[in-house]
C-alpha cells in the first residue's frame, strides 16, 4: 500500500490509537529464538531414515535374515553335517505347498525304458506320479517319467527337506542358513577389523601429520595399488582355507579406504579453533582424538562400514568359487553356490536358494546403506 503523506492518510490508518505508537524496545535486543524446534544431528538422520520406506523395508529384511540364520539351523531337525547317501540330491519338499504341485519332492526322469517302470525294486510302489512323454528309440519303448524322488529313495512320507538335499544327502535349508550365519560372521568381523585398523591408522596419519603421515600414506597407497584379488589369493594360499583366514585376507587391503577417510577428516578438523583450544588446555592426544575429532567422522564411518558388508559377503563367495573358501564340511553362501553351480542343469534348486538369498541380502544391504548415507549426509540436513 503506497501512501502519500502530504495528501492525507486513509481513515483506518489515521485513526490508529495513540497507544499503538509507544516505544517498546527498551531493553537490549536479543537474538530471536528459533520458532522451529532444534533437531540434533543423529535425530535428524534417524528422522530422515524413517522417512525412507525403502530403508525401513531393507532394514527389516536384513533383520529377518539374521534371525532366520540364528534359528533355522536349530529347528529343521537335521544338522548341517548329517550325511545320508540314500537321500542324495532330493528335490525340495515343503508341507502345504506340496499339495498344489510346487516343492512336492517330485522330479522328471528322462530316457527310461518303459519296461523298467514295472520293476518295483527300482521304482517302489507309489513312486511313479505320471508319465510325461512316451516315445520310441531304436525299437525300444522309452518314457520320460515324473517320480516322487522321496518315495523313489525309499524315504518315509513325513520327511521334508524344504530346500532339498545336496550330493551327500545333507539338508540344504539347514546348510543354507548355517552358511548365512557363517558368511555374515565373516562379513561383520572383517568389516569391524577393517574399521578398527583404518581408524587407528588414519588417526595416526592425520593427527601427527608430517613425515609419519607421508610414510604411512605412501605405504597404504602402494598396498592399494596391488590388485585386490591377487593380494587376497596370495594370502589365502599362505594362510590356508578357513574362516579366520578369510577374515584376515579380507583385512589386508580393506582398511585403506577407512584410513583415508579418517585421515581426511583429521586434516579438516584438527586445525579448528575448538581443537586448538583443547590442546592449549593440555588435553592429552588420545583424548583429543577420541573426544574432539573422531566424533565428527561417525556418520561417514557408519555408512562406509555398512557398504563394506555386502562387499565382504561377495568376496567370501568369490573365494569359495575359486576353491579358497572355508574348510568343508562347514557351509557358507559361497560354498553352497559353487557346489550348486556344478550341478546347475541337473538340480537347479541347489543353486536357486543360495542365489536368491545372497541376492536379497546384498540388495537389502546396499539399499539400507544408501538410505543411511543420505540420512547421515550433513549437507542434506532438513531435507525431506
Amino acid at each position: 500500500m503506497m501512501i502519500d503523506k502530504n495528501k492525507g492518510l486513509p481513515e483506518e490508518i489515521l485513526n490508529l490509537p495513540e497507544s499503538s505508537f509507544e516505544m517498546v524496545q527498551t531493553d537490549e535486543i536479543k537474538d530471536e529464538k528459533f520458532k522451529t524446534k532444534p533437531i540434533g544431528f543423529f535425530k535428524d538422520a534417524l528422522l530422515r531414515l524413517q522417512h525412507s520406506k525403502i530403508s525401513i523395508i531393507s532394514f527389516w529384511i536384513i533383520l529377518s535374515i539374521i534371525i532366520l540364520a540364528l534359528i533355522v539351523p536349530n529347528i529343521t531337525g537335521f544338522t548341517y553335517t548329517e550325511q545320508d547317501l540314500a537321500k542324495r540330491n532330493l528335490p525340495p519338499k515343503i508341507p502345504g505347498l506340496e499339495n498344489i504341485g510346487i516343492a512336492d519332492g517330485s522330479r522328471v526322469l528322462t530316457n527310461r525304458k518303459k519296461d523298467s517302470l514295472s520293476d518295483t525294486n527300482r521304482y517302489p510302489e507309489g513312486s511313479i506320479i505320471e508319465i510325461v512323454r512316451e516315445y520310441e528309440s531304436k525299437g525300444v519303448a522309452m518314457v520320460d517319467v515324473k517320480v516322487d524322488a522321496y518315495a523313489l529313495a525309499g524315504i518315509e512320507d513325513d520327511v521334508y527337506h524344504w530346500f532339498g538335499t545336496d550330493y551327500l544327502g545333507r539338508d540344504l535349508m539347514t546348510r543354507l542358513f548355517k552358511g548365512v550365519r557363517i558368511s555374515l560372521i565373516i562379513a561383520f568381523f572383517s568389516v569391524i577389523t577393517n574399521v578398527i585398523i583404518g581408524v587407528i591408522y588414519g588417526s595416526i596419519c592425520g593427527y601427527y601429520g608430517g613425515k609419519v603421515d607421508m610414510f604411512l600414506t605412501h605405504f597404504a597407497e602402494v598396498l592399494d595399488g596391488m590388485p585386490y584379488i591377487v593380494i587376497t589369493i596370495l594370502f589365502m594360499i599362505l594362510l590356508g582355507s578357513g574362516m579366520l583366514s578369510i577374515i584376515l585376507a579380507l583385512c589386508i587391503t580393506g582398511w585403506i579406504g577407512t584410513a583415508r577417510l579418517i585421515r581426511a577428516q583429521f586434516y579438516r578438523f584438527k586445525g579448528r579453533e575448538y581443537v586448538l583450544a583443547a590442546r592449549t588446555l593440555g588435553v592429552p592426544d588420545v583424548k583429543l582424538i577420541f573426544r574432539h575429532i573422531l566424533p565428527n567422522c561417525i556418520g561417514p564411518l557408519i555408512t562406509r562400514a555398512m557398504i563394506a558388508i555386502p562387499g565382504a559377503i561377495f568376496s567370501e563367495s568369490f573365494l569359495a568359487y575359486i576353491g579358497l573358501g572355508i574348510k568343508p564340511p562347514e557351509p557358507s553362501i559361497g560354498i553352497l553356490l559353487s557346489d550348486g553351480q556344478s550341478v546347475l542343469l541337473q538340480y537347479p534348486y541347489q543353486t536357486l536358494f543360495p542365489a536368491i538369498l545372497i541376492s536379497v541380502l546384498m540388495i537389502a544391504f546396499n539399499l539400507f546403506s544408501n538410505g543411511l548415507r543420505d540420512a547421515l549426509d550433513p549437507t542434506r540436513r532438513g531435507e525431506e
Binding site: 596391488m226 584379488i229 596370495l234 594360499i237 553356490l337 541376492s359
Partner: protein, 316 residues
C-alpha cells in the same frame, strides 16, 4: 604431462615388483612347501631344485627368481596341472580368451551405463528414473556369478538359444562371440550399473552447478547447456570408476570363465589353486597383475589427457 606419465609408470613398476617379491616369499615360506611334497614326482622335484637354486641361501634364490621373471619371462615349472611344462607356455595360450572376455564386457558396459545414467539423471525422481535406479541397485548388488548361473540355466537349458559352454572349435569370430555372449553379459551388468549410478549422481550435481546456470543465462537452451556443459563434464570423472571396474571385471571373469569353460586364465587359476600347483598360481597372479596394472595405466593416462586440469597441470 610427461612427468605425470612417468610417475604413473614408475608406480606401476614398483607395484609389480612388490607383487613378485610377495609371491616369491609366500611360496617359499608356505608351511607345506611344494619341494617337500611327497606327491611331487622326483624328477620334477630335481628340476625344481636346480631351477630354484635351492642349494643357495634364500635371499640369493629370491634374486634368481626376480632375474628370471624380468629377463627371460621365466616363471617356473608347473608341478601338478601339466607336470614339467614351462609355466609361460601354459599361460600364453590362455591369455587371448580372457582378454577378449574382459575387453568385450568393458566395451559393452561403458556406453550402456552412460545411456542409462543419463536417462535417469534427466528424468530425476520420475518413474523412469525410479525404474532405472531400482535395476541399478539389483545389478550392483547381485554378484556376477549369480547372474551367470541364471543366464546359463535360462538361455542354454530352458530356452536353448546359446551353447552352455565356450565353443573352442568355433570357425568364425561370430561363432566364438555367440558362445561368449552370456559370460560377457553376466560380467557387464555390474559395471554397467556402477557407471550408470555414478554418472547419474555426477550429472545431477553438474546440472545444479553454477556454470550450468551461467551457460543458461548466457542464452543456451536447456538441451544445449546440458549436452555441452553438464554431460561433458560429468563424463570426465567416470574414468575414476573405470579403474575399480576393470579389477572387478577381471576378478569376476576368474569365476565366470570356469562356469562357461572358457579356456582362459581364470579357469587355469582355479584349477591350479585347487591342485596346489603354486608355481602356476603365482605366475598366473603376476601375469594377471601385469594385465590389470597396464589397463589401469592406460585409463590413468587417458584420464590425464581428457582432463585439462591434469594435462596442463597446476590446477586442482
Amino acid at each position: 604431462m610427461v612427468k605425470y606419465i612417468l610417475k604413473r609408470i614408475g608406480a606401476m613398476l614398483l607395484t609389480l615388483f612388490l607383487i613378485m617379491t610377495l609371491s616369491f616369499w609366500i611360496i617359499r615360506l608356505m608351511p607345506m612347501s611344494i619341494f617337500e611334497n611327497p606327491a611331487t614326482p622326483p624328477d620334477i622335484q630335481k628340476l625344481l631344485m636346480a631351477e630354484m637354486h635351492l642349494d643357495k641361501p634364500l635371499f640369493v634364490q629370491y634374486l634368481y627368481f626376480i632375474k628370471g621373471v624380468v629377463t627371460e619371462a621365466e616363471f617356473g615349472t608347473s608341478v601338478q596341472i601339466r607336470p614339467g611344462m614351462d609355466v609361460f607356455e601354459i599361460l600364453a595360450s590362455r591369455i587371448p580368451p580372457t582378454v577378449l572376455l574382459n575387453i568385450m564386457s568393458l566395451l559393452i558396459s561403458i556406453p550402456l551405463g552412460i545411456v542409462f545414467g543419463t536417462i535417469a539423471a534427466l528424468k530425476r525422481n520420475k518413474a523412469t528414473d525410479n525404474i532405472i535406479s531400482f535395476l541399478i541397485v539389483i545389478c550392483i548388488s547381485v554378484p556376477s556369478f549369480v547372474f551367470a548361473s541364471v543366464l546359463q540355466y535360462v538361455f542354454t537349458f530352458k530356452i536353448p538359444i546359446f551353447p552352455t559352454l565356450y565353443d573352442t572349435q568355433a570357425a568364425t569370430f561370430a561363432g566364438t562371440m555367440h558362445s561368449l555372449l552370456l559370460p560377457i553379459i553376466a560380467l557387464a551388468l555390474g559395471p554397467m550399473a556402477t557407471i550408470a549410478r555414478y554418472l547419474r549422481g555426477e550429472l545431477i550435481e553438474t546440472l545444479s552447478s553454477e556454470y550450468l546456470l551461467l551457460a543458461r543465462t548466457k542464452g543456451l537452451t536447456r538441451t544445449q547447456a546440458t549436452v555441452r556443459h553438464a554431460f561433458r563434464n560429468s563424463l570426465v570423472p567416470i574414468a575414476n570408476t573405470i579403474i575399480p571396474l576393470i579389477t572387478g571385471i577381471m576378478g569376476g571373469s576368474l569365476v565366470i570363465e570356469k562356469m562357461f569353460a572358457v579356456p582362459g586364465m581364470g579357469g587355469l587359476l582355479i584349477d591350479s589353486i585347487m591342485a596346489g600347483d603354486h608355481f602356476l598360481t603365482v605366475s598366473l597372479l603376476i601375469f594377471y597383475s601385469t594385465i590389470s596394472l597396464i589397463t589401469i595405466l592406460i585409463v590413468d593416462i587417458s584420464y590425464g589427457i581428457i582432463d585439462p586440469r591434469i594435462r596442463v597441470g597446476g590446477g586442482k
